[in-house]
């Protein structure tokens, strides 16, 4: 019982870490480039979820001045601010990687990492 209670208390964190690990697994095991980009996105989402989960104060109210009386416990607004920046960063990186994938496809006609490695080593051996 103790363990299940503890899991339920920290379900947010566990979910976030699980997302991170799922994303990592995708990046490690798949060789399709687009899948890897998606994996990184999922990893990022996991980290952001972790951040938000930190901010959550149990029994807290919305942190808007004036909406609730002073002295009540507010939910921490700071992590949400962090992850806003983080989301923007991850989005821009995703955009950049996707444009790279398009170029790679135009040049090599494949987006599978293993085939790419073979094609590149062939190119190098010609030199």
């Amino acid at each position: 019982m103790n363990i299940i209670e503890r899991i339920l208390e920290n379900i947010n964190y566990i979910g976030a870490v699980a997302l991170f690990l799922i994303g990592l697994r995708i990046v490690v095991l798949h060789s399709n480039l687009i899948k890897r980009i998606m994996g990184i996105n999922i990893m990022g989402t996991g980290v952001f979820l972790f951040f938000v989960a930190i901010g959550n104060v149990s029994g807290g109210v919305v942190p808007i001045v004036g909406a609730n009386p002073e002295g009540s416990t507010f939910v921490n607004p700071l992590p949400s601010v962090f992850i806003l920046t983080g989301i923007v960063v991850v989005v821009s990186i995703t955009v950049y990687s996707l444009s790279l994938v398009i170029r790679i496809y135009q040049n090599y006609n494949t987006i599978d990492q293993k085939e790419l490695a073979e094609l590149i080593s062939e190119d190098n051996n010609e030199h």
Partner: protein
């Protein structure tokens, strides 16, 4: 304008220049270059003044918007940040002057402007990383640095740039997310992201939430390790070098990975503190990593046929040296690491810029094709030789002084094994640098170059090389000019 606003003025100047360049698209490119040079001179002046001020008067902090450090973002000017921003701007100026010659090869004329925009934002982010005193702010600047570096190395529209850039983005993003995860864990345990506040409360947090701190330490070190090209996370570095223009390679190898190492130093010493590190036996892990980097980096470099990849692996080995200095967790070790950061920055820049000149004029990249280069490009090969002899560790160059420093630091902790590894690694460096120098200056049988056909290279490309050569030798002869500043920088972490 008082002294406290100088750091932010530096950043604003860079941002201003970066925004101005696209507006100047219609004008001749020379105006952009000159304006950029003026901006960099201004930043150099202000950095020098800051360096003087911090060492004579004392550190100071600047909070944005007047919000106190707990809630807002704080820039902390210590001897450490002042010294390294000064070093970065000097190296950046030298590379900038070089690149204004014809050396951004492979890039079309219309894209020159974009290159310089990226360069200025890159400098902005590096200055930001060094000035800031907030963990999350560091993450933001790290991300800006990652994206601009990635763009700057993949600016050539050739086939092999894309795959190497992709791998670079992938690995760097994993690294950043690791770092961010670490920041989250620390925030969870201590409730602050401001570095000074975290360092005050870390002991209490460690007592109550040991798991958090430990996992945070692991994630942050490995995340930064990927970005700093520590073996075995160095994978992206050789590929990135072989397909980038030479100025970008120089920026990447000489400055960017060092900044990540500096962030690592800040995290290890300011955020976590030596007690926790020793409890967690982190020095052992770092020592093993640095030892393998020193030896394996050089062994892989011996086998390379492309000269830029070889220099990339050489960087991996040199990062091993710096990591050795850091992991000794002592005053002498950190001093040796800082000196090597400066000295290696100079030497690697010299190597990449001279190689860039040779590649540009001779269109060849293979190590075996250097026959007789010394006869037609004496300045480039001369500076290459000085820098290569510095990497080997010949006295009269700054590389020897860093080896001396590292040796003394290693002996203080009684790690005789590492002394042996240091010497073996220097020997391995000899094996792959010496044949190039010999080929260039002596073996003229293949092409029969004559001294009279020296290539006319623009003065903007030769002057920075000569300046670098002079700096390497003078730093090798009189290192005590810069030692007080380095020791002041070390004292911000270890008293």
């Amino acid at each position: 304008m008082n002294i406290e606003q100088l750091p932010i003025i530096n950043l604003i100047l860079f941002l201003f220049m970066a925004l101005l360049i696209p507006l100047l698209k219609r004008r001749p490119f020379k105006i952009t270059l000159i304006l950029g040079f003026i901006v960099m001179c201004l930043v150099l002046a202000s950095s020098s003044h800051l360096l003087w001020h911090v060492n004579e008067v004392g550190s100071f902090s600047y909070t944005f918007g007047g919000h106190e450090a707990r809630y807002g973002i704080e820039f902390l000017l210590t001897p450490f940040s002042a010294l390294f921003t000064w070093v970065i701007i000097i190296l950046a100026m030298i590379i900038y002057i070089y690149s204004s010659g014809d050396a951004t090869e492979g890039i079309e004329q219309s894209e020159y402007g974009r290159y310089y925009v990226l360069l200025f934002i890159l400098l902005l982010s590096m200055f930001g990383i060094l000035y800031t005193n907030d963990l999350f702010n560091t993450y933001v600047f790290i991300e800006i640095l990652s994206i601009t570096t990635c763009a700057i190395i993949s600016i050539k529209k050739k086939k092999d740039t894309y795959t190497s850039a992709f791998r670079y983005v992938m690995m760097n993003e994993i690294g950043s997310l690791s770092y961010l995860f670490g920041v989250a864990l620390i925030y969870m345990a201590t409730g602050y992201t401001n570095i000074s506040m975290v360092s005050e409360s870390i002991q209490v947090a460690f007592a109550s939430y040991p798991f958090n701190i430990v996992i945070a330490l692991a994630f942050m070190v490995i995340g930064l390790g990927i970005k700093a090209a520590i073996f075995p996370f160095h994978i992206w570095l050789p590929d990135a070098h072989s397909s980038a223009p030479s100025t970008s390679s120089a920026i990447l190898s000489a400055i960017v990975i060092k900044v990540y190492l500096l962030v690592l130093v800040k995290i290890l010493f300011s955020v976590f503190g030596i007690d926790i590190l020793e409890q967690m036996n982190m020095p052992l892990i770092l020592l093993i990593l640095s030892g393998t980097a020193m030896i394996l980096g050089s062994i892989f470099a011996i086998a390379q046929k492309d000269v830029k990849r070889m220099l990339g692996y050489s960087s991996v080995a040199q990062v091993g040296y710096i990591l050795l200095g850091i992991s000794l967790l002592s005053f002498l070790g950190l001093r040796a690491a800082f000196f090597h950061i400066i000295s290696h920055g100079l030497m690697k820049t010299a190597l990449f810029l001279s190689v860039g000149e040779i590649i540009f004029y001779k269109k060849t990249r293979k190590v075996n094709d250097f026959d007789g280069m010394g006869f037609i490009m004496p300045v480039a090969m001369g500076v290459f030789s000085i820098a290569a002899l510095g990497m080997i560790g010949l006295p009269l160059t700054s590389g020897f002084i860093s080896k001396l420093n590292l040796g003394i630091a290693v002996l203080e902790n009684n790690y005789l094994v590492f002394l042996v590894i240091l010497i073996i690694s220097s020997l391995l460096n000899v094996i792959y640098y010496l044949p190039i120098i010999i080929l260039a200056f002596l073996r003229n049988e293949k092409y029969h170059y004559r001294m009279t056909t020296i290539e006319k290279t623009p003065r903007t490309m030769i002057t920075p090389l000569i300046l670098l050569g002079i700096l390497i030798v003078s730093l090798g002869l009189f290192p005590n000019v810069i030692m007080p500043y380095i020791e002041a920088a070390v004292e911000t972490f270890i008293s």
